[in-house]
């Protein structure tokens, strides 16, 4: 490689280069099969097309993944996000049904606020277990992952609860400035998080806690408060995601809502280039990772993969992306033969 990096090299070395490339390849495949894939037209005063659907459908994973990014940056993990999403949806829907005027704007706002507050509390509970009681994050959040679904089932009596509130429905199906509201909400949270972590010292503190919590504490960083905060924030994000999913179908199915979304979110984070070992994190990477996952989900029906091959297809794509991202794997591919006897490490071990 040349000493002074040319533009091409700079682009190639950019950490976001591989996730963006993966997303691009996926889009090219889709357009190859269905040339009209990227077509967008106006429909009832808003944009309509595959791309718009992908934006909207990416919102839940994007929200969950944003919270997850910060948790992972502190060397933690939050497995309870799917269950928290289900609880948020269950709380909001039962509140809407129980309200005097089911279709009122105030009902929707009250119910959603209530649900989000509950979710922040649940996230804080995770934070308490991890930061104060010192329980390993995977165990601490596993508790709520299992129990949370039971809680949401109890709230809804195990029934699929349907609500009729146009304002609540708009959270997922509504459009602002011709763009899906759900996507704008996710972008809003992304911008908020980016400003908070990159314009203040918070991001650096989170990274330092992730790299070495003990050293950070000795250096005067309040690691306990920071860990607590990121779990509460993850609960907040999961709650918002749950509301978007519920609003999308105007109903909550406590059994299936947000099921396995934690894995999609972790995948989005990893595809975006944040290491599960903690430390450095990339919010933009997570954003692209979430778009990638939503595009992958859309690719399956678009190119007509049979149902029984769904998971296989997803797995193959994810493995390919992870190999692309691994510098060692790339070196092996370039050399054409293994340069090291050790097996190639894949960055993500989670299923799609």
């Amino acid at each position: 490689m040349p000493e002074s990096p040319t533009l091409v090299v700079r682009v190639l070395r950019h950490p976001l280069m591989w996730p963006v490339l993966a997303l691009g390849v996926l889009l090219v495949i889709n357009v190859g099969v269905k040339p009209s894939f990227l077509d967008v037209r106006m429909q009832d005063g808003h944009l309509y097309g595959n791309v718009v659907d992908i934006m909207r459908n990416s919102a839940p994973v994007m929200l969950v993944a944003l919270g997850m990014t910060l948790v992972i940056a502190t060397r933690g993990i939050d497995l309870s996000v799917g269950a928290i999403a289900a609880i948020a949806a269950a709380v909001a829907c039962t509140r809407i049904i129980g309200a005097g005027d089911e279709a009122a704007l105030s009902t929707a706002v009250m119910a959603m606020t209530y649900a989000v507050v509950v979710c922040i509390a649940l996230g804080a509970w995770n934070g308490l277990l991890v930061s104060v009681l010192g329980i390993q994050p995977i165990i601490a959040t596993l508790i709520l992952m299992v129990a949370g679904r039971g809680i949401s089932m109890a709230i809804t009596d195990g029934q699929i609860t349907t609500v009729n509130n146009p304002w609540f429905s708009d959270l997922a199906s509504g459009f602002v400035l011709t763009l899906p509201l759900a996507f704008l909400v996710a972008i809003g949270v992304l911008a908020f998080t980016a400003v908070l972590t990159r314009r203040t010292a918070l991001g650096m503190l989170i990274e330092s806690v992730g790299i070495n919590p003990e050293a950070s504490r000795l250096a005067g960083v309040r690691s306990r408060t920071i860990i607590w905060t990121v779990y509460a924030f993850s609960g907040f994000c999961a709650g918002l995601a749950g509301l978007v999913i519920a609003a999308n179908t105007n109903s909550v199915n406590a059994n299936s809502l947000g099921l396995w979304i934690e894995l999609d979110a972790i995948l989005a984070v990893v595809i975006g280039g944040t290491s599960l070992a903690g430390g450095r994190f990339s919010l933009m990477g997570t954003f692209i990772g979430a778009l990638f996952i939503a595009t992958l989900t859309r690719t399956i029906p678009n190119i007509g993969i049979p149902s029984d091959l769904n998971y296989l297809f997803k797995a193959v794509v994810v493995i390919a992306v992870c190999l692309l991202q691994s510098p060692k794997a790339r070196a092996v591919l370039r050399a054409g033969r293994p340069s090291s006897p050790r097996p190639v490490p894949a960055k993500a071990g989670s299923p799609a």
């Binding site: 659907d53 195990g158 699929i160």
Partner: protein, 335 residues
């Protein structure tokens, strides 16, 4: 150690007391004439799959209510979707020497051993809703449940009969998209098979795309969104359950089309939300998959215990609903 034993002993005493008092209660208010065990009351152990859907909750409720009404003592267990829980529950029923065991198997295989134990203990077993795959069919008395192939066939029959109206865009072919249930699940496989066998009678009907929506509204909506984007000649949606159909309705509305008119919708289940949509004209036809099999189950249990012959396979009483029938049936719908 001593302490533990004491606690265990106390627990056993308490639970025996609870059971016997329960038994006394139902004995007092029952006028059952069926011969079960010596005290004349039938005790049934029922191992349910879980509470994963509104359909399942209605199923559980029907069994519990019918048992109470008929004076049958019901020991109920919810396996929460796990086979090991279910096997454990069946073992405990065998130990408690219930008169008859009924259960909806979580999965098809792996029940041979526990069913052998039940047979050795002389307790008859009735399967409900789902079948098991065992080497020896004498391990259970009968299987009561829906015929999923028949449900698919009924959906197909309706489409063939209404082929002319269903060609919405009038291009001579009827393009059907199918929203499949969970891949590998018996209802998804059988409904697809039954549907395909019937529509093959009409050459103009063709399934142009088929994809799983996981039996959920969200899954149905996302798949339908994609179908609508890539194909503007869809005439009919066939969804393997109401929930996916309801998701498809939202996707169709978002595309600026009118569900039930611009695109016809056929679903299976007939849960309340589905029936409401049918009555509103957003769905065109629903094939019922009846969860209320309590009465038929209790009836079969009595027959088995009286030593009567029962058929190996009993199909649940089920019907179909058109839009007009839905408007009539909706007020009495329990689930």
């Amino acid at each position: 150690m001593v302490k533990k034993t004491l606690v265990a002993a106390a627990a056993i005493t308490l639970s025996t007391f609870a059971l016997s008092s329960c038994g006394n209660g139902s004995e007092a208010d029952s006028g059952s004439d069926s011969s079960g065990n010596d005290d004349g009351t039938i005790t049934m152990g029922f191992a349910q799959v879980g509470a994963e859907s509104g359909w399942r909750t209605a199923n559980t409720k029907s069994i519990q209510e019918t048992a109470e009404a008929e004076g049958i003592e019901l020991k109920f267990n919810d396996a929460q979707g796990k086979q090991e829980n279910q096997i454990q529950a069946i073992r405990s029923y065998i130990q408690q020497k219930v008169d008859v065991i009924a259960f909806s198997p979580v999965v098809e295989t792996g029940f041979d051993a526990v069913l052998q134990e039940a047979k050795a203990a002389g307790i008859p077993v009735i399967l409900t809703d789902r079948a098991v795959d065992v080497e020896d069919p004498s391990l259970y008395e009968t299987f009561l449940g829906s015929d999923f192939v028949l449900e698919g066939e009924r959906a197909g029959d309706w489409l063939v009969e209404n082929a002319k109206d269903s060609d919405v865009n009038g291009d001579g072919t009827i393009n059907v998209v199918q929203l499949e249930g969970t891949t590998g699940a018996a209802p998804a496989i059988d409904r697809a098979e039954g549907f395909a066998s019937k529509i093959s009678a009409d050459d103009s009907i063709e399934v142009t795309a088929s994809q799983t929506g996981e039996f959920t509204r969200d899954g149905g909506k996302q798949v339908m969104e994609s179908f609508l984007q890539s194909d503007d000649s869809i005439d009919v949606v066939f969804a393997h359950n109401d929930d996916m159909g309801l998701g498809a309705i939202e996707a169709i509305e978002a595309a600026g089309l009118e569900p039930g008119k611009d695109i016809k919708i056929i679903t299976i289940d007939a849960v309340k939300d589905g029936m409401t949509a049918l009555a509103d004209g957003k769905i065109n036809f629903i094939v019922e998959c009846n969860p209320l099999l309590g009465p038929q189950l209790m009836d079969l249990a009595k027959k088995v215990l009286d030593g009567e012959e029962v058929p190996e396979r009993v199909v649940t009483d089920e019907g179909t609903f058109t839009q007009e029938q839905a408007i009539e049936a909706l007020p009495q719908r329990q689930y």
